[in-house]
């Protein structure tokens, strides 16, 4: 998660406020194409000024959901409300919504200016005002000098900015973005992520963005809905999704994670003890779980939350043999800022550990085939029921 900006703490969290009415309300929406269920009874509430991400792999139904918000598809069942208005039967050209298309869908026979002005012309905005607003938009996306060009004379990044300007020029309350950064290279993508967040905060527009890129979703959004097979697996802030995944799917989809199979030994209001043969130790987790004692669970631990050492660690937990195990380093991947270690436990389980390269790599504190100790704090693990 390199380069992840921390959201400003002053940011509103409207989903925490019971009095706040959601701007977009999706109620038990199902969409089927023939026998295929693309979206399966999805319910979601999205609030004003949110930067909301629909995250999922291909075929997860995220794009279908977005297209239903835009009005290009009609829900087979369920209802969609935008600003309290039921959208059933309302065609795309009458919705208070604009969309930025994955392919950008710029009109090839029009100049950049004409593309941006298109939406305003449909509303019969006076000519002088159109000119001013188009100029203002092109200024915002830094394309003032390119107004007379045609889309095919622009680079991918410039086209993306034209598409953004075109979708924002009508000052929609809700902007839908379908893989907005998909066609850009990595460097440009990172830069554009921050630009999008800034624009969204400046204009106070609600953004719903569809993406398959978890890093993109984590970086930009206030909340993320992780989708899988047409169902929402989890909704939460990037931190919640990353630190407290509710299911194996979410845990494995976002970042990388180590899963230890085990059985609950002790479950109380503030902690859980899990015995795991796979881990070779007892796992102590400092949060409660609904799973009763004796039930099979998995404990998920992020690679960066595991500490590596050649010396036995000072007991992190008081009780010996908890949250600490031993293994042999089998692989090391050097990524510059961090290194990834694949450590094989005596049980055969391979554990992934990432550690920052605080010292210079040439010193090689831990190397291949070294016997190492793995340890983690009680807050590191998450208990996932089967």
């Amino acid at each position: 998660m390199a380069g992840q900006p921390i959201r400003k703490p002053t940011r509103l969290e409207p989903w925490q406020d019971a009095g706040q009415a959601p701007y977009v309300r999706i109620e038990k929406v199902t969409k089927t194409f023939g026998d295929f269920v693309a979206v399966d009874e999805v319910s979601l509430s999205i609030y004003r000024n949110e930067f909301f991400a629909l995250l999922g792999g291909s075929g997860s139904g995220k794009t279908t959901l977005l297209r239903m918000l835009a009005g290009f598809e009609q829900p087979t069942e369920g209802r969609i409300f935008i600003d309290g208005v039921d959208m059933a039967g309302i065609p795309p050209y009458e919705r208070p919504v604009n969309m930025m298309f994955q392919s950008y869908a710029l009109f090839p026979h029009m100049t950049v200016e004409q593309n941006v002005a298109f939406g305003l012309k449909q509303d019969n905005v006076p000519k002088a005002e159109i000119r001013d607003r188009v100029a203002e938009m092109l200024g915002m996306v830094q394309l003032s000098a390119f107004g007379k060009r045609r889309p095919h004379q622009l680079s991918g990044g410039q086209r993306q900015r034209v598409a953004l300007a075109r979708s924002l020029v009508k000052r929609p309350k809700l902007l839908l973005l379908d893989e907005p950064l998909g066609a850009l290279d990595k460097k440009l993508r990172e830069k554009t992520q921050f630009e999008l967040v800034n624009i969204q905060e400046k204009l106070g527009v609600t953004f719903i963005v569809v993406t398959h890129d978890q890093e993109e979703a984590m970086t930009m959004s206030s909340r993320i809905a992780v989708m899988n097979h047409g169902v929402i697996a989890q909704v939460g802030t990037p931190t919640e999704i990353y630190e407290y995944p509710h299911s194996r799917f979410v845990a494995e989809f976002i970042g990388s994670i180590n899963m230890f199979e085990g059985r609950v030994v002790e479950a109380s209001g503030d902690h859980v003890l899990v015995a795991s043969e796979e881990a070779g130790c007892e796992l102590h987790i400092s949060h409660a779980t609904p799973a009763p004692a004796g039930s099979p669970v998995a404990v998920a631990i992020r690679p960066e939350k595991i500490a590596l050492s050649k010396e036995p660690p000072p007991s992190a937990d008081g009780a010996a043999g908890r949250n600490a195990t031993k293994g042999v380093v089998r692989e090391i991947a050097y990524l510059g800022d961090v290194s990834i270690y694949l450590v094989e436990l005596p049980t055969g389980k391979t554990v992934r550990v990432t550690a920052p390269n605080v010292t210079r790599r040439t010193e090689m504190p831990i190397t291949w085939e070294d016997e190492v100790y793995l340890s983690w704090r009680p807050f590191a693990g998450v208990v996932l029921a089967q």
């Binding site: 050209y93 604009n98 869908a105 009109f107």
Partner: protein, 313 residues
């Protein structure tokens, strides 16, 4: 055989003409032999004088030997009266204008029928597009003449349409559509429709459907989106289809001859009469050259639009 090819390859390779060169050279040679050379011959004849002889025109270039005077003369006769006749006699001008009018009406009718057809086929599910296009091309499998004769049966006084109208009681007597300008319009629109549908279909089919979604998303109603997005983007197809119909329609001979009335004046018929009835080859050649000049303008427009489109890609 293989030896011959390799020797040929070696010789041509020596002068830098093999592979790509040959691929281009063969059609060029073909066009030179069967298009440019006949054109030059016709161009030459158009400056000649009609005589009663075989062939029925005076040679342009003659080597005159006067044995008494002991001189040899090279005589080049350029006769411009053929072209002057084209402007002097309003038969030709009327025939040209009428040809252009009939071709124009045919083109517009083909466009009016062909555009919705091409649009519907392009919007059909992909699996159905092939068979539908097949149906458009299917008439080419039977002889053009047979199809025109079939139209005679449909359009004539006691033909299919006439009988149907009488049966419904809309008309009291037989309706004669045959041997009128309308019969020519119907026949020619029928003949040239596929030439309109094919290029229109290929441009409409290539169009990105998300462009229409984008237009709708920006507040544009479907019909306006068609006018603002689909229509301008299909312009190259409209131009290509229109020229494919208009150019051969101007010089059309068979359809007006078979379906048209005696007063359906078209340049193709005038040309035929001059060649075969009057045996006045020079005037006929002049008519042909003038016709070509009339057609060069739309061809140039076509080239220009195509060039611009290629640039836009």
């Amino acid at each position: 055989m293989r030896a011959v090819v390799s020797v040929l390859a070696a010789v041509l390779g020596r002068i830098g003409l093999w592979g790509r060169g040959v691929v281009v050279a063969i059609p060029f040679l073909w066009l030179m032999l069967f298009f440019l050379v006949p054109f030059l011959i016709v161009f030459g004849i158009s400056f000649s004088e009609s005589i009663i002889a075989q062939p029925p025109y005076a040679p342009l270039v003659e080597w005159l030997t006067d044995e008494d005077a002991g001189t040899n003369k090279l005589q080049i006769l350029l006769n411009l009266t053929n072209y002057l006749r084209l402007t002097g006699d309003d038969l030709y001008i009327l025939a040209y204008l009428n040809s252009v009018k009939i071709a124009l009406v045919t083109t517009l009718m083909c466009l009016a029928i062909g555009y919705p057809m091409a649009y519907a086929i392009a919007k059909a599910p992909p699996a159905r597009r092939g068979p539908l296009m097949m149906l458009v091309i299917l008439p080419f499998w039977t002889s053009f003449l047979i199809r025109i004769y079939a139209w005679i049966g449909i359009l004539k006084g006691n033909g299919v349409i006439s009988n149907f109208l009488e049966w419904t009681g809309l008309t009291s007597g037989p309706v004669e559509i045959l041997y009128s300008d309308w019969a020519v319009y119907i026949g020619m629109t029928y003949c040239y429709l596929p030439f309109m549908v094919l290029p229109l279909y290929s441009t409409l089919e290539k169009m990105d459907p998300t462009l229409l979604e984008a237009a709708a998303d920006l507040g544009c109603r479907p019909f306006k989106a068609f006018l603002k997005v689909t229509l301008p983007l299909s312009l190259p197809g409209i131009v290509a289809g229109s020229l494919l119909v208009f150019i051969p329609a101007v010089g059309e001979f068979v359809t007006p001859e078979l379906l048209g009335g005696p007063d359906t004046l078209m340049i193709g018929r005038v040309l035929w009469n001059e060649f075969f009835a009057n045996r006045d080859w020079p005037v006929a050649s002049a008519v042909a050259i003038a016709l070509l000049l009339v057609l060069v303008v739309p061809i140039m427009i076509f080239q220009h639009v195509q060039g611009r489109e290629a640039e836009g890609r």
